[in-house]
Each structure stands twice: as C-alpha cells, then as structure tokens.
Symmetry: C2
C-alpha cells in the first residue's frame, strides 16, 4: 500500500508543469531539491557509505559542480537527504494512523500494515540507514528516533504505554530482521506476538 519511492521523477529536467520556471534551467530552489531527492533515493539503494557527489550528480542528472554549490559539504547533503527519508517514514506513519483509526487498533490491522512495510525493501532500508547515520553522527539521532517514537505515540492512547512500546520494539526488531533476510518473518507469527502484547492488561495501563 501507499505509493512510495521518494519521488520517481525522470532523469531529464524534472521540474515540469506550471512552475514559475518552465524549462527547468535557472531554478536554484528546484535544482537543490532535485539533488536532495536523488540522494534520498540513492541512500536506501547503495547505502550511506557509497554516497558520493558524483553518484548523486549522475542520478539527479546534473553536473558535479551543482552538487557542491548548493551544499557546503557532503555531510550537509547527506543530512538533508536523511531528513527527506525521515519524512517518508513519517508519511508512512500517518498512513498507519489512518488505517488503524479506520479498522481499529487490532492485532490484525497492525500486523497487516507492518507486513506491507516489511515487504517494501526501500522503506525498510530507509529505516535502517537512518539508524546507521544516527550511530555515526549523534546529531542525526532525532531523525532515527522519529519512526519508533512516533509509533509509540500513535499506539499509546489505545494500548497504554507499555503495550505500545512493546509493539514498537517488536516492529523495530522485525524491520531489522527484514533488512538482512530475503523474506520477512511469518505474518501469523507476528500477529500472535503483537496480539499478546495488545491484549495484555497491564496494571498501570490505562483501560482506554
């Protein structure tokens, strides 16, 4: 579910449409964004370690110089790309919220949503690469924490803080597993685990 993939733009002169700059040339803002999007698309593919100016330039369809003028350093370009990636996860989180509010906070609905997430290689890689980045640079920790903490906040009102954290941890673990295995964990298995956590009545868990 949820059409993702950062952006999916053509390689030639992306900004088409009714923008103030028609041809695509001389559009600093759009060009900068174009480069960031290329980087955000590339990181889940090749990993943070192999992200270079030249690779980004090639993917974005711009010259090497363009990738250096708009960003003080490669670190800055990386950071902005990671921010875009985090936004993708936040959008996914919003979709999850909508689905749960529609279908209810049941093990079935949560599992179904998680499985869709786990089957999307790019989304899983986005989450993992964010954790990598946060390990290499503590400044990026908030970005990496967005997904998990957002999940806890989403689930806590319905499940209570303990079950919410437990479910979030399980989902994180399942994502990590999916990132280093060809197939995600079995759906029925995950549903049983999440079901156990969600149905538990913790002493300090608010009933609703």
């Amino acid at each position: 579910m949820t059409a993702n993939g950062i952006v999916h733009r053509t390689n030639e002169e992306g900004t088409s449409g009714a923008s103030p700059v028609p041809t695509g040339r001389h559009d600093p803002e759009g060009r900068r964004r174009q480069i960031v999007l290329a980087a955000a698309e590339l990181i889940p593919e090749v990993g943070l370690a192999k992200l270079t100016h030249r690779l980004v330039a090639q993917r974005a369809g711009v010259s090497l110089g363009a990738t250096t003028r708009y960003f003080a350093s490669l670190d800055e370009l990386r950071s902005e790309a990671l921010r875009v990636m985090a936004e993708v996860l936040e959008a996914e989180l919003a979709a999850t919220r909508a689905l749960l509010e529609d279908e209810g906070f049941t093990p079935r609905s949560l599992t179904k949503d998680l499985m869709a997430f786990l089957h999307d290689r790019e989304l899983v890689r986005i989450g993992i690469e964010l954790v990598f980045a946060a390990n290499a640079d503590p400044v990026l920790r908030p970005l990496a924490n967005l997904w998990t903490e957002g999940l806890v906040e989403l689930l806590a009102p319905a499940l209570g803080p303990v079950a919410a954290r437990g479910a979030a941890l399980v989902m994180d673990g399942a994502a990590m597993h999916a990132s280093i295995n060809d197939e995600p964990l079995d759906e029925a298995l995950i549903e049983q685990i999440l079901g156990t956590l969600m149905r538990s009545g913790f002493p300090d868990d608010p009933p609703e």
Copy 2:
C-alpha cells in the same frame, strides 16, 4: 557482567607469555590475529565506514604493510574482524544461557541480563555494526543473524517458538534503541513487556 572488550591488549608487542616465539617478532600467526583483533576492536568504536588499513595498523602497533600482506584485501580483513565480533556476541549468548539455566527463564532474569547488555556500549555497537555489514554485503548476513537466531533457539525450548521470537524481537528493538540513545529503555518497562510475552500461553506453544 562478563568482562568483554574484544581483548584488551597493550599496544606494544602484544603476544607475551610462553608462546613458541618469545619476543613477538617473526610470528606470522600471532601477528595476523593481532591485526584482526585490532580491527574488531576498532569497528565498534569508529564504525565500519572509517575502518582503514592505516587505522588498523596504528591500533595494532604494526606497519601498514603488515595489514596488507596478511589479508588479500580490506574486505577480507573486515570480514574476519566481523567474525571475531560475532564470536563475542556468541560468548555473551552462552553467558545468558548459563544465567537463565541457573536462575530460571523468568522475566526478571532475562531482563536483568538484557539490561547489562544494553548498558555495554561496545556490545550494542557490535550488534549494530554486524547488521550494517550484512546490509552492505549479503554474504555477511549469517553473522548478523547469529545473535537473534541464537536467542530464539535458546528461549524456544522453555517459552515456545512464538514467545521466544517475540522476546528476541523485543531485545533486538531495545538494542537498536540503545544504539541511538544515551540511556537504554527503562528496566521495569522492559520487564513488563518481556513478562507479557513469556507468560502468554499460545495455542500452539508447547506447555514445556
């Protein structure tokens, strides 16, 4: 608990004692191992991306040439270092097994052991870096899976497959969290979560 830290050797001429080669020179086997250990010590510190021949040579107290002669490529050196790191985790797993068999498979004992793990920055980093490596190179996937799968195998006989997998996922998630936060999650919280999973009687879970 468990004195870890890869090896903790001095920088000057590590191999002391009653080995066949007293001074430390002309000892290819020991020298090779010395280099691998330095790399295994370095990876959790600086991350896989910043591991270079020169950095390893400096830490091991050997020349640059030594790091290239004993390993066909940097990849090979990295792989062997990762294998050592995986062995450290396996040793930790064995310690966990011993503790659980002694104290029983209770939420309390499992949580206590997990908290000790989470408070050990190096151990946590080892686990995370192994996952990084497996993401970059599928050949290394088995190494990264050792910890989680070993945990499942350890817990399954006592808890059944579902609870075992659930607990392992929670522990993985907690490790990921610890790697990008100053403090691990609250101990009481984790114990409640693990307790819920461990006390659940799943329909298909063997009673013992």
